[in-house]
């Protein structure tokens, strides 16, 4: 490939252009297939953003559905309020600000989780994020303005192919470039060895919190796209199982491998669409997949990088 095509900014522009063109042609598409493709786009955003927290930074979060629900509710409530006050015509132009508002509030939630994470590691953090996701769910269940337990319906259907894949491209670009940057190498350093990283002058806490905030922001964007795609959201839709699905994508793709995670997001979304009629079977399959994968191939199914050989000690 000529070097100019390797410039990530050009790749981003190209990806967004393709998404927009595809979006223009999407009207001719079978609406069922279009919905599935949009589902895939949302799954990619979720998986890539969780990959920044779980994969690159090595902080195991089980609360991604919580961040997603914050974005979904905030943006849906914003567009519903705008629709009431301004009429329907201007709405598509206000969709982006609504999404960003959802993302920012989700990022704030990410900050709230990230701060306790500075004292916790591994399995404790996993439980706290799980608990945090549950708390968010309980709160939305009790807030009347968010529709309470019965959920929020009548959200305008604004998430098209162009929006979804344009934003997915932005997510992949931001996460990919961030991790490759000088600053972003710190995430990987924190993942590899926290003590060593801090003795090299990096501040692990800051990296962890940054990862949570950025990951939560994009999860919020994905949530906004989700609510404007399904047009109906309820607190039950953002439970632990939703978080777990995203975690499975990240593990399957290989933690910290953006390409593998995207493949896993596509494959698993298609798979769950195929297994829609046997939903219970799907979760049994996911669980078995995880157990077997952890025992036999912990580096991920779609990770083809060869394992580094352990260095052999000289005198042994």
């Amino acid at each position: 490939m000529p070097p100019i095509f390797k410039d990530p900014r050009l790749q981003l522009v190209a990806a967004i252009l393709i998404a927009v063109i595809a979006g223009l042609g999407a009207d001719q598409m079978n609406s069922y297939y279009r919905d599935v493709v949009i589902d895939i786009g949302i799954a990619i955003i979720l998986a890539v953003s969780l990959n920044l927290i779980n994969g690159h930074t090595g902080q195991f979060s089980l609360g991604h559905a919580g961040f997603m629900s914050v974005g979904a509710y905030i943006s849906a409530m914003t567009t519903l309020a705008l629709q009431k006050s301004m009429g329907i015509d201007i709405l598509p132009w206000l969709f982006l600000p609504a999404l960003i508002a959802g993302g920012l509030v989700a990022a704030l939630a990410g900050l709230l989780v990230g701060v306790p994470s500075l004292r916790l590691r591994g399995d404790y953090l996993a439980i706290v994020t799980l608990g945090f996701g549950e708390i968010i769910r309980v709160i939305f269940q009790n807030v009347e303005a968010a529709g309470g337990a019965s959920g929020l319906s009548g959200v305008p259907k604004l998430s098209g192919l162009a929006w979804t894949f344009g934003l997915a491209a932005v997510t992949v670009y931001v996460v990919g470039c961030l991790v490759k940057s000088t600053y972003g190498r710190g995430f990987i350093a924190v993942h590899d060895d926290e003590v060593a990283a801090s003795s090299m002058g990096l501040n692990p806490t800051r990296y962890k919190v940054t990862a949570f905030v950025i990951g939560a922001f994009f999860a919020g964007i994905a949530g906004g796209l989700y609510s404007h795609h399904k047009t109906f959201i309820s607190p039950q839709g953002f439970d632990f199982m939703k978080s777990f699905e995203v975690v499975v994508m990240v593990i399957l793709g290989g933690m910290g491998r953006t390409g593998g995670v995207i493949v896993a997001a596509v494959v698993l979304t298609l798979l769950s669409e195929q297994l829609r009629s046997a939903a219970e079977l799907r979760m049994i399959l996911y669980a078995l997949l995880i157990i077997v994968l952890m025992i036999a191939r912990p580096q991920g199914l779609f990770n083809f990088e060869r394992k580094r050989k352990p260095r052999t000690p000289v005198n042994s």
Partner: protein, 303 residues
């Protein structure tokens, strides 16, 4: 006043079940240093074991009745101990030397596998089932307080099991070996203790207690379903952290405290709808301000 004491008794009965499960979390954490996510599901399997065994045992021992009840409890505890040992053998043992995160993810996988397999119609089915009555029930009053006899049984059984557990851990050879492995597994194995055996034994002991908790829960709340282990398990874990993870009396204390707090919150208007979030709020607060828990001792991490 009377209502407050009544709620206290209700809370203690709920907390006793939490305590029994929390001990399993704490013991496994002690020897393996990881959270056995599937422990809540062993508790659920305990309830269902009791549910399916009771009609069989009723052929020999009258149920409801004390003899039949003791048999159901004992059989459930044995079955759950075996389940716990098998889970460790199949899922966790192959990962003994892997990073902790790998084991944690596997534990989540095991937990979901149990839940969704049990929900399938070929097994228990997703619907709620009515737990059979194992003991004659009645109400009696002590000093103006009215007790439900089941609550009384739950509290006494928990007390007996806790005393027995303390005896095993503190006074027997195998208990000493458990403490040694928990303290320093490498040194323990140099002293001739088989780590694998002790880990299996710990899983068996913890799972037996969870099974007992499952039967007691079924007797108190009568409705059981394949997902009941999720919430109760998570709350029992919170109880274990609250008391200081790795600390047995702490787990019991944490369970009782959590049960009482939750029951009181459930009775208050305005707070009651947030009841399921309270345990997690407690967890986050305790992890921020006193991560070692109420009774835990501070450990310095060495590099």
């Amino acid at each position: 006043m009377n209502e407050i004491s009544q709620q206290l008794v209700n809370g203690l009965a709920l907390g006793a079940v939490y305590a029994l499960i929390a001990i399993g979390y704490t013991m496994v954490y002690g020897v393996l240093r990881f959270i056995n996510f599937a422990h809540g599901d062993v508790f659920m399997l305990g309830s269902f074991t009791g549910y399916y065994l009771a009609p069989q045992i009723a052929k020999w021992f009258p149920i409801p009745g004390w003899g039949g009840w003791v048999m159901v409890m004992a059989a459930t505890m044995i079955v759950c101990a075996i389940i716990g040992i098998v889970i460790e053998l199949l899922a966790y043992r192959p990962l003994r030397d892997r990073p902790k995160l790998t084991v944690l993810i596997t534990a989540i996988g095991v937990s979901l596998l149990i839940e969704y397999t049990c929900q399938h119609k070929a097994f228990f089915g997703a619907s709620q089932k009515a737990f059979p009555q194992l003991l004659p029930t009645g109400n009696f009053t002590i000093g103006g307080l009215s007790f439900n006899s089941t609550q009384f049984v739950v509290l006494s059984v928990t007390l007996v099991l806790l005393v027995a557990l303390t005896f095993i851990v503190k006074k027997t050879r195998i208990g000493m070996a458990m403490r040694a492995v928990s303290h320093n597994s490498a040194a323990a194995s140099l002293m001739g203790i088989s780590n694998s055996f002790i880990i299996s034994f710990t899983f068996g002991l913890g799972s037996a207690l969870a099974g007992a908790g499952g039967v007691l829960y079924g007797m108190t709340y009568t409705g059981i379903d394949p997902l009941m282990g999720v919430n109760v398990g998570l709350k029992a874990f919170v109880a274990a952290v609250l008391g200081g993870i790795g600390n047995l009396p702490g787990a019991a204390l944490g369970g009782l405290v959590l049960g009482v707090v939750e029951t009181f919150a459930g009775g208050m208007s305005g707070v009651s709808t947030y009841r399921d979030g309270i345990a997690f709020a407690i967890l986050i607060i305790i992890l921020i301000f006193k991560p070692t828990g109420l009774l835990g001792s501070k450990q310095i991490e060495k590099v």
